[in-house]
Symmetry: C2
Subunit: 718 residues, 2 copies
């Protein structure tokens, strides 16, 4: 069986196409050689003896005006013109706060720009730093002195979760917002099992928070955390023992009655994978084709998405995310993570494992990113590609003949998972056979916990939920921004929204008060927009120049957005100013090269004014324009005890669905669901109770529908 | 493999338990013998020569006060007291409008009540009637005369979809609302293929609508349909040829590249099925246990739902559904179907087919209902029970050790599908291993189409979408009502809602404007309530007398409801008066025996005042009370061309999720996802491009996480 599946078409395509594809496609992620070259060319701008700390070395995508004709020629089978390959490089002089960004032309070997950035601009953190900072602070005598006051049990192991230092605009003696800073939260492993490296330390938060300069590894100060219901801070006192809460399986009494469920694809997968560049992948599945890229910031990116060779989306990616916390007390008021800009969905991507992160026949896509020395780093299995069954897509039974026709919903899933310290995001693009494209985000992982006075364990807390004795899970919002750069039936799209509105009573037009109609509004200028469930307000991308073949309406795709409570931090707060996307479900801007990240290019300790809210405020006309849609969705996470020690996923979905784009149900040609293919197993071999009970009485409705859904033709009566 | 699965535990349990269970459990659906007895006892109240038309012969469930101690004793393993079995019988004297309802005590053999109902009370339609009415009207000279005016092609076959005659309160010369009436819409099969019994006639709507008395088969009148943009009606003119739109597979050029995807459970299913009565089923799965019933009106009903032997829900069912149309023009203004009360989710349930309606190892539950003669009718395979994989439930990777622990989300699905004339609903209860219970509704099937003047095909229509040349799909709302009778941690629950609200700026409490908290409101009296996304308003069932072991909060389950545009028909309209549930997302009432259906017991041509809005208006105190939750959800269906000739399912979900009910993540003890169990297949045998590209360069992050998610213990580095 494995062999049968192993010979699935993706491999064949890899072999066939790998060498025939252009190696320097303008959308291909940077290759190891290009990363090495980009770093070398950057270094060559400076004296030899400088030590560099590279933060980002990534593909600088071509301007749209240059790329559109290239992609058109490529699709037409014509030789596309050459487009220079460029790298975008962000780096420090190691050990300093001198941040630079450079644009390196890899085709010409020229550095086209190389500038030092201002004092309030900071690059993302990186994994090396996290480890180094933890090591440095735990070795620091002042930190050790505070820890000593806790009188921890013999052999206790203290660990530190570094946390981004959210701006609050303050400048006091100890505050250096012109420098990059990390605030660190201390925890300990289960003191009764301190040698277990995977002990869940979030069950043992400590009230000590060292503030570090990750550049110089200098200790700036030590914050002591409030552990009551108010902002008061008590001197560090001896630690109160509490119980462990482990998530690792060997710490559990595991269920023994969950039987195996396997997905078997005896003929392999239905998709094919080709290289459109050395690292870029072109996936074809059920009339869809799309290019998959991978970068440090956004992780998985989709380009040039078509269905049945008709253009749909020019570029799709998760653009940004903000996680502001509810706790207004120092220093918690600074907890507001931007996991893409502050860390990176690509660099934090999991190495996905066969049979663990998905089922069935799976193709894994790897990436190549950069270490802090400017050397390429392999990121294996960062995206998995597989199919899944999603139940029934459509069914009808003709009650006159009892013939049923049923078609199942097959989906193609591109999944990536990122771990940012305590927390996980499972992010997927899901395609189906009816032309729907869904973006799914699952939030899981471990709460970033804080210590609570043990005697308050059973009292309601104003800013969080007590999830374990002496452990608080703070309220926080997860606010995501999905960037949709559409080309529905070609470029030159418009954004409209429809509302269903009651018609006033009228003796002639609406005598019974039941009538309603649909009102359409076109968005004429960039701005922020909101849902209105009371009006069934639905946003839609249309192509005003292409009419549906059946009813003449402008072809389009609607955006089905789950309603979201917008950011609760007030408009003057830094959380709100920095999360420039978090105040509206929908932002629409006119496309501009380089505007990719809703929160701005540099989110770490950012102060706002550099993201989508600012771009939308240009009030650009969208007439015949080139709109970009920023779709916000999220949850207000009010933790439950059930979310600890690791939380069951909260799932959010945004669906892009065709509206008068096709001339009929696009899945009408999907073969019916058949037992001969699906090989399901009935557990009713002895007949179920109902049939037994009916022995000797009329069989009524039975017969007609029997096995009819499986009949490929005819009335289906078996 | 089939044999291995065939020996799955459900069979064993059927064999073991079928004969040891009490045959007369108070919640067991009526048996064939009981149905026969109930009809006989009813007949015995009247003179011999009367001909009866039975509409409903169903279990009359015991009063809660009587049933609670019974179920408690049963669970405690004590002998429960006997509860009399009763049948609820609704019948006409055949050929008359004399509607009666009777209560028959099957234990004593006595008819406890038998009353004639008022002139404006009407029973549901039934399948026999639909066929008979279609036959009668097509044979009627007046109808034939109107059809003749269409000058249809030689050999054309006209068909009729009978439709419930929604009340409008009018009484004119032709109107007899004191009688039960059907309005019928005429269509024809593809004239070029008229012998195909499964030709999609909805592509050929005709402008003629006979109004019939299904009791006497008398033609009341013939309505001619408006086919323009306004209410004007033109005389019937010769038919304009249009194209066919078939959904049957033999009419399509089918896709050939969708490869088989099979769900294999080599050790069988993880659930067991026992008989709690002759037809009632008790299902146990992953700490859940629940009783499954089936009846004419609601179809699938769940009783006595527990998790880990802790009570959760006393009774769960889809209570009602209303589908009001937007078209205010006569006679479309009467289109407002109540598919449960007007027809029945049970009597219209599909006979589900192996390998078609679900995948994997499936157990089918059958039902027994009643024909119009009062005889039992077998309803085979009306509910299918199976497990499915739903992706990742929780995951965490410790970035210090690179060890990942991942647990997949296994779900148990109980699915039933009903066909009401043109349309299908796929209705499921879905349980998971984290204590979540989800109700899912998928709307599919065929639009109830109406004729449109061909020259208007390309113009926007005020009340619908043109889905095919000369064919209009009218706007309509689908408004569902899920009835939740809770017993979270026991009876005596309360309903509260939580809101997340910003804290005002305050130099001491909220100096940075980022703070927010949660405000809880208890619902003290019955009424209708709405969601408020701007406040993250979340409704929750709590047990104020049971505190969470960790944090002392009242244990509870929250209700995650998708926002819904409430009914658009105005408050004085009959659509609105009849759909007593459709104006609020949430209704809360105090439990009263017999209050099961949100739209009232008799919805056919109802006039309102008999459903949940009326019960809520009692303003019953809920103090220490017994609340029942009515959760409304739905869609405003603005048809797309893509919804024709059969629509891809629109899916809605309501989730019941534990909040501080358990003392930790209840799925923490689910075994990790392992390749050894899941047997997935990698399509990367040659290594994916990324790895090839990396030949000879640093492998960076690779290694640590490799296969770690599969490791059952240890650091997982392989």
């Amino acid at each position: 069986m494995a062999t049968a599946q192993g010979s699935g078409s993706p491999l064949i395509n890899d072999k066939l196409k790998a060498n025939t594809r252009p190696k320097s496609h303008p959308l291909g992620p940077l290759t190891p050689q290009e990363i090495t070259d980009a770093a070398a060319l950057t270094r060559a701008c400076w004296p030899k003896d400088i030590d560099y700390h590279f933060k980002v070395v990534t593909l600088l995508e071509p301007d749209k005006a240059e790329l559109i004709p290239y992609l058109a020629a490529e699709r037409a089978g014509e030789a596309p013109g050459n487009i220079d390959r460029r790298a975008f490089v962000v780096y420090y002089f190691r050990g300093t706060h001198n941040l630079h960004e450079a644009v390196v032309n890899l085709t010409t070997g020229k550095v086209e720009a190389n500038v030092k950035l201002g004092p309030f601009t900071h690059a993302n953190g990186d994994g090396d730093e996290l480890i180094a900072v933890e090591k440095a602070l735990l070795a620091h005598p002042a930190v050790q002195a505070e820890i000593a006051k806790l009188q921890l049990p013999q052999g206790s192991v203290v660990v530190s979760d570094p946390w981004i230092y959210g701006s609050d605009g303050l400048k006091d003696g100890n505050f250096y917002d012109d420098k990059r800073i990390l605030q660190c939260f201390l925890y300990m492993r289960d003191p009764e099992n301190p040698t277990e490296p995977d002990s869940c330390h979030y069950a043992f938060p400590l009230p000590i928070s060292p503030v570090m300069d990750p550049t110089t590894m200098e200790l700036i100060r030590i914050d002591i955390l409030p552990t009551g219901h108010d902002e008061k801070v008590k001197p560090v006192a001896p630690w109160h023992p509490t119980s462990a809460a482990e998530y690792i399986p060997e710490a559990q009494t595991l269920r023994t009655d969950l039987k195996p469920l396997q997905v078997v694809q005896p003929e392999g997968a239905s998709f094919t994978v080709e290289n459109f560049s050395e690292l870029g992948r072109l996936i074809r599945w059920q009339k869809w084709d799309l290019k998959v890229g991978f970068n440090q910031r956004e992780g998985m990116v989709l380009y040039d998405v078509h269905y049945d060779n008709r253009p749909l989306f020019y570029r799709l990616s998760l653009s940004d995310m903000s996680i502001p916390y509810a706790d207004p007390r120092h220093p918690f008021h600074r907890k507001a993570a931007f996991d893409l800009g502050d860390a990176g969905a690509g660099i934090m991507a999991n190495n996905l494992q066969l049979g663990c992160d998905c089922l069935g026949s799976i193709y894994y896509i790897g990436g190549v990113l950069t270490d802090t020395g400017g050397k390429p780093v392999n990121m294996p299995n960062v995206i998995c590609v597989h199919e899944q069954d999603a139940g029934i897509l459509w069914k009808h039974t003709n009650y006159r003949t009892n013939r049923a026709v049923v078609v199942r919903n097959r989906e193609l899933v591109l999944q990536t998972i990122l771990t940012v310290s305590n927390y996980e995001y499972i992010l997927s693009f899901v395609f189906n056979t009816a032309g729907d494209l869904t973006y799914e985000a699952r939030a899981t992982g471990i709460l970033s916990t804080q210590p609570l006075d043990p005697e308050l364990t059973k009292s309601p807390h104003p800013f969080g939920t007590v999830v374990h004795p002496g452990v608080l899970g703070g309220f926080h919002q997860h606010l995501f921004s999905l960037r949709i750069d559409p080309m529905v039936a070609g470029h030159g799209n418009s954004i409209v929204y429809d509302e269903a509105v009651a018609i006033p009573r009228d003796p002639k037009l609406n005598p019974h008060g039941v009538g309603y109609t649909v009102r359409r509004t076109e968005i004429e200028a960039s701005g922020g927009f909101d849902l209105d469930v009371s009006k069934n307000r639905t946003f839609r991308v249309i192509n005003p120049t292409v009419n549906n073949a059946v009813n003449g309406a402008a072809v389009g795709y609607k955006v089905m957005v789950p309603p979201m409570q917008t950011i609760l931090a007030d408009a003057d707060s830094f959380h709100n100013k920095r999360a420039e996307f978090a105040d509206h479900s929908i932002y629409v801007t006119r496309y501009a090269d380089g505007e990719l990240y809703a929160g701005g290019l540099y989110t770490n300790q950012s102060r706002g004014g550099t993201g989508v809210r600012s771009w939308a405020d240009r009030k650009d006309s969208l007439a015949g324009g080139d709109p970009v849609l920023w779709v916000q969705f999220g949850i207000n996470h009010i933790p439950r005890v059930e979310d600890f020690p690791v939380m069951p996923a909260e799932t959010l979905r945004v669906m892009l669905r065709p509206v008068n784009f096709f001339d009929r149900n696009p899945a009408i040609d999907v073969p019916s669901s058949k037992q001969a293919v699906n090989c399901s197993v009935s557990l009713n071999e002895t007949g179920d109770g109902a049939k037994e009970a009916m022995a000797g009485v009329s069989l009524g409705g039975e017969g007609g529908q029997l096995s009819s859904c499986c009949a490929s033709h005819g009335s289906g009566s078996a």
